[in-house]
């Protein structure tokens, strides 16, 4: 019987690991559907420092202190509580029980007590988070793009975390009662700080019932974690992994105001203005298939990594001046749409072959002109993102396609383009009047 349980455990572990690896492979392939932009693996030590500051150190989170502290509790709790996973996996695989207790001796109850305190912290933080989402209704969680699955996803994650940490503490409580009752295999560990409080409750059950309870909670905890591991890859919660590479590969010291150059157009304009200086026309690079981006495959792989790293917190959207004033544009929606589109395209390619194209695109099927045209390029969204996502970069690439390939500029912009081209200024003034401002400047004589 024991061997059967061990085998079952290993099978479950293997299946969960396989599914997780397969899903990560799918996501990685999808991200690599994007284009290369500029080198992002140079200056490694600066990149590690950036990752340490933003992903590990959560620097940006602390711009909003309340949520930051709660998030930090869940983050530290999640990482440290999972240390116990080492023991759980060893126990499960080797058919042991609390294999580390004799090894760690008197330190063991201290360690477990510490993890239990963290579990309580995580529990409370998740309750507050559920409250913020569903009762106090923090407005950024209730924007248009959060309806349906995204809202449910956010709540499910919190409920899972509550179940996981509760199972852990209750399992320890049942374990303590079993130790007291002298059940075989249940090694004496000494009391645990939090689960001690459940001792009285569990002590009222008989030994056999308690063993069933304890084993059930053990399985709920480990199955829960394995389920969670896979669930995360389909969820906005993927940020717990991708925040790290995403901040590693993010721009290091490029000023936020600097837009990516388009060398093909630069060259073409040089040819036009000065055919001699620009060199032989045979040197001209072939014109790109399209200007800017129409679909996810025109974006950079970093844009797509950004999209998968987004946890839909909505700080970008809550800082967006256009969204604040009730316009359709929402930087978070841009990220969610990009991710949903690349998921869709990835699935279509898996089904119908790598060259398959489903005829859909990010612009049109997901993001409208109205959203794109509204952007102030103010960089508030870029500044806000705790994990170094750049929604503006995507918006500007899509806008380039809208304007240059689709000629979908509003009439006022066409007038502005014409003025810049013909009058050298965005307004319809004569270029001859450009210096007229200097005609009558008077300054007071100073003694």
């Amino acid at each position: 019987m024991q061997y059967l349980v061990q085998a079952l455990f290993l099978v479950v572990l293997g299946v969960a690991g396989f599914l997780f690896a397969k899903r990560i492979g799918f996501i990685r392939r999808n991200i690599l559907l994007g284009q290369d932009d500029h080198p992002r693996n140079d200056r490694k030590s600066e990149r590690f420092a950036q990752m340490a500051l933003f992903a590990l150190g959560q620097k940006k989170m602390f711009k909003r202190m309340g949520p930051a502290v709660l998030h930090f509790v869940v983050y530290v709790g999640f990482i440290l509580i999972n240390l116990e996973l080492i023991e759980i996996v060893l126990d499960g695989a080797l058919g042991k029980h609390r294999i580390l207790a004799p090894v760690l001796g008197s330190f063991y109850p201290i360690l477990i007590s510490f993890l239990e305190v963290l579990a309580v912290g995580v529990f409370l933080a998740c309750v507050v988070f559920l409250w913020r989402r569903n009762v106090s209704k923090v407005s950024r969680f209730h924007k248009r793009e959060m309806k349906g699955w995204p809202m449910l996803d956010g709540n499910l994650i919190l409920v899972f975390e509550i179940i996981l940490v509760s199972a852990l503490v209750l399992m320890n409580g049942a374990d303590q009662a079993l130790q007291f009752k002298g059940a075989t295999h249940y090694v004496h560990t000494g009391g645990f700080l939090v689960s001690n409080y459940t001792f009285g409750f569990f002590a009222s059950f008989d030994k056999d019932t308690l063993i069933i309870i304890e084993r059930s909670l053990w399985w709920i905890h480990i199955l829960g974690i394995l389920f969670f591991l896979n669930y995360v890859t389909y969820s906005k919660h993927l940020h717990i992994m991708l925040a790290f590479p995403n901040s590693y590969y993010a721009d290091l010291d490029k000023p936020k105001g600097q837009m990516e150059n388009m060398p093909a157009i630069q060259k073409e304009v040089q040819m036009m203005l000065n055919p001699d200086a620009a060199g032989d026309s045979n040197d001209m690079p072939p014109p790109p298939e399209r200007f800017g981006a129409k679909d996810v495959t025109d974006l950079s792989w970093k844009n797509l990594l950004d999209a998968y790293s987004c946890t839909e917190c909505g700080r970008c959207t809550s800082a967006c001046p256009q969204n604040m004033t009730g316009k359709l544009l929402s930087p978070r929606k841009i990220m969610m749409d990009t991710r949903d589109r690349v998921e869709e395209l990835g699935k279509a390619k898996d089904k119908n072959g790598a060259d398959h194209h489903d005829g859909k695109s990010l612009i049109g099927d997901y993001i409208s002109s109205e959203e794109l045209l509204a952007c102030n390029t103010c960089n508030a969204c870029v500044e806000e993102c705790p994990v170094n996502i750049n929604p503006l970069d995507i918006i500007l690439k899509l806008r380039r396609h809208e304007i240059m390939d689709e000629a979908k500029s509003p009439n006022e912009w066409n007038v502005m383009f014409g003025n810049v081209e013909n009058n050298m200024a965005p307004w319809q003034f004569s270029p001859d009047d450009r210096f007229k401002w200097a005609d009558n400047i008077e300054i007071k004589e100073k003694g």
Binding site: P321, T325, C378, L396, A425, F435
Partner: protein
């Protein structure tokens, strides 16, 4: 009163002279009546403190910023090529501008296209001149003790991480700087950038410049200080929207300094 002569690069070159700095005026500063006042105020400061500067005058053309931001890279590249040819022909080394959009384009986007210059925003330039002792501002003046709130321009602030220079200048004229709830890296856009000022806004519940002006007015300032001609236009309109234009002035830092020095 005496008339100010604004030297051009062409004139100086003809005389075999080179200015220390080129003042890049920008389209708003050249053509828009409100923004011209900022240009004139800055020129008065430059003249008063005997800064060796020049402008391009009629040879300056749009940097291409509004075209590039709205997605029209062709027109941007045309303007950039023309400006870079002009600037390089005059062997310009150092540029100062009162427009953060021109500032950003000249500083960050022209180098890749062959235009490499030291580019300063006028607030940075003035701060530097003061630090180097080349400009000595007289204490007190028109804004002593006045409540001034400062609106960060996106293209000076977030885009280029300059938050301090304009604030230091406000403090130098003995005014009391009052911060809005959104300021510095959290500052809210005036609504003009990204070429939005050149078109009607999309449908919504409010306008960006109205909301931002309201945030500034909440602080009951005597002056809303700005560092960008487009912010000046947008916030002036936002203040008018609340019929507060008689009580609250929207002024560029250059105008504040010129007025404080009674130029």
């Amino acid at each position: 009163m005496s008339k100010v002569q604004v030297p051009t690069m062409a004139e100086l070159m003809a005389e075999g002279k080179t200015p220390d700095v080129l003042f890049w005026v920008g389209c708003a500063g050249s053509f828009d009546q409100r923004a011209q006042k900022i240009t004139k105020a800055f020129v008065k400061i430059l003249n008063h403190f005997n800064i060796n500067y020049a402008v391009l005058g009629g040879e300056e053309v749009c940097t291409g910023d509004p075209a590039r931001r709205s997605g029209n890279e062709f027109i941007f590249q045309m303007m950039a090529a023309q400006n870079i040819a002009t600037l390089n022909a005059y062997e310009v080394k150092r540029i100062v501008t009162a427009c953060p959009h021109c500032f950003n384009t000249l500083k960050n986007e022209y180098p890749e296209l062959g235009g490499k210059y030291e580019v300063l925003h006028h607030t940075q330039f003035l701060q530097k001149m003061i630090d180097e002792g080349k400009i000595k501002l007289e204490d007190g003046g028109a804004f002593k003790g006045k409540h001034i709130t400062f609106h960060d321009s996106c293209y000076l602030g977030r885009a280029n991480d300059e938050y301090q220079a304009p604030r230091s200048l406000i403090q130098i004229i003995d005014a009391e700087l009052v911060e809005m709830k959104r300021s510095r890296e959290n500052g809210m856009c005036c609504g003009a950038g990204g070429a939005q000022i050149f078109k009607e806004p999309e449908k919504g519940e409010s306008e960006v410049h109205f909301d931002r002006a309201d945030e500034a007015l909440e602080k009951n300032p005597d002056v809303i200080a700005v560092s960008c001609p487009f912010c000046t236009l947008m916030l002036t309109d936002g203040v008018k929207n609340r019929n507060k234009e008689d009580q609250v002035k929207v002024l560029d830092i250059a105008e504040l300094i010129a007025e404080a020095q009674d130029l």
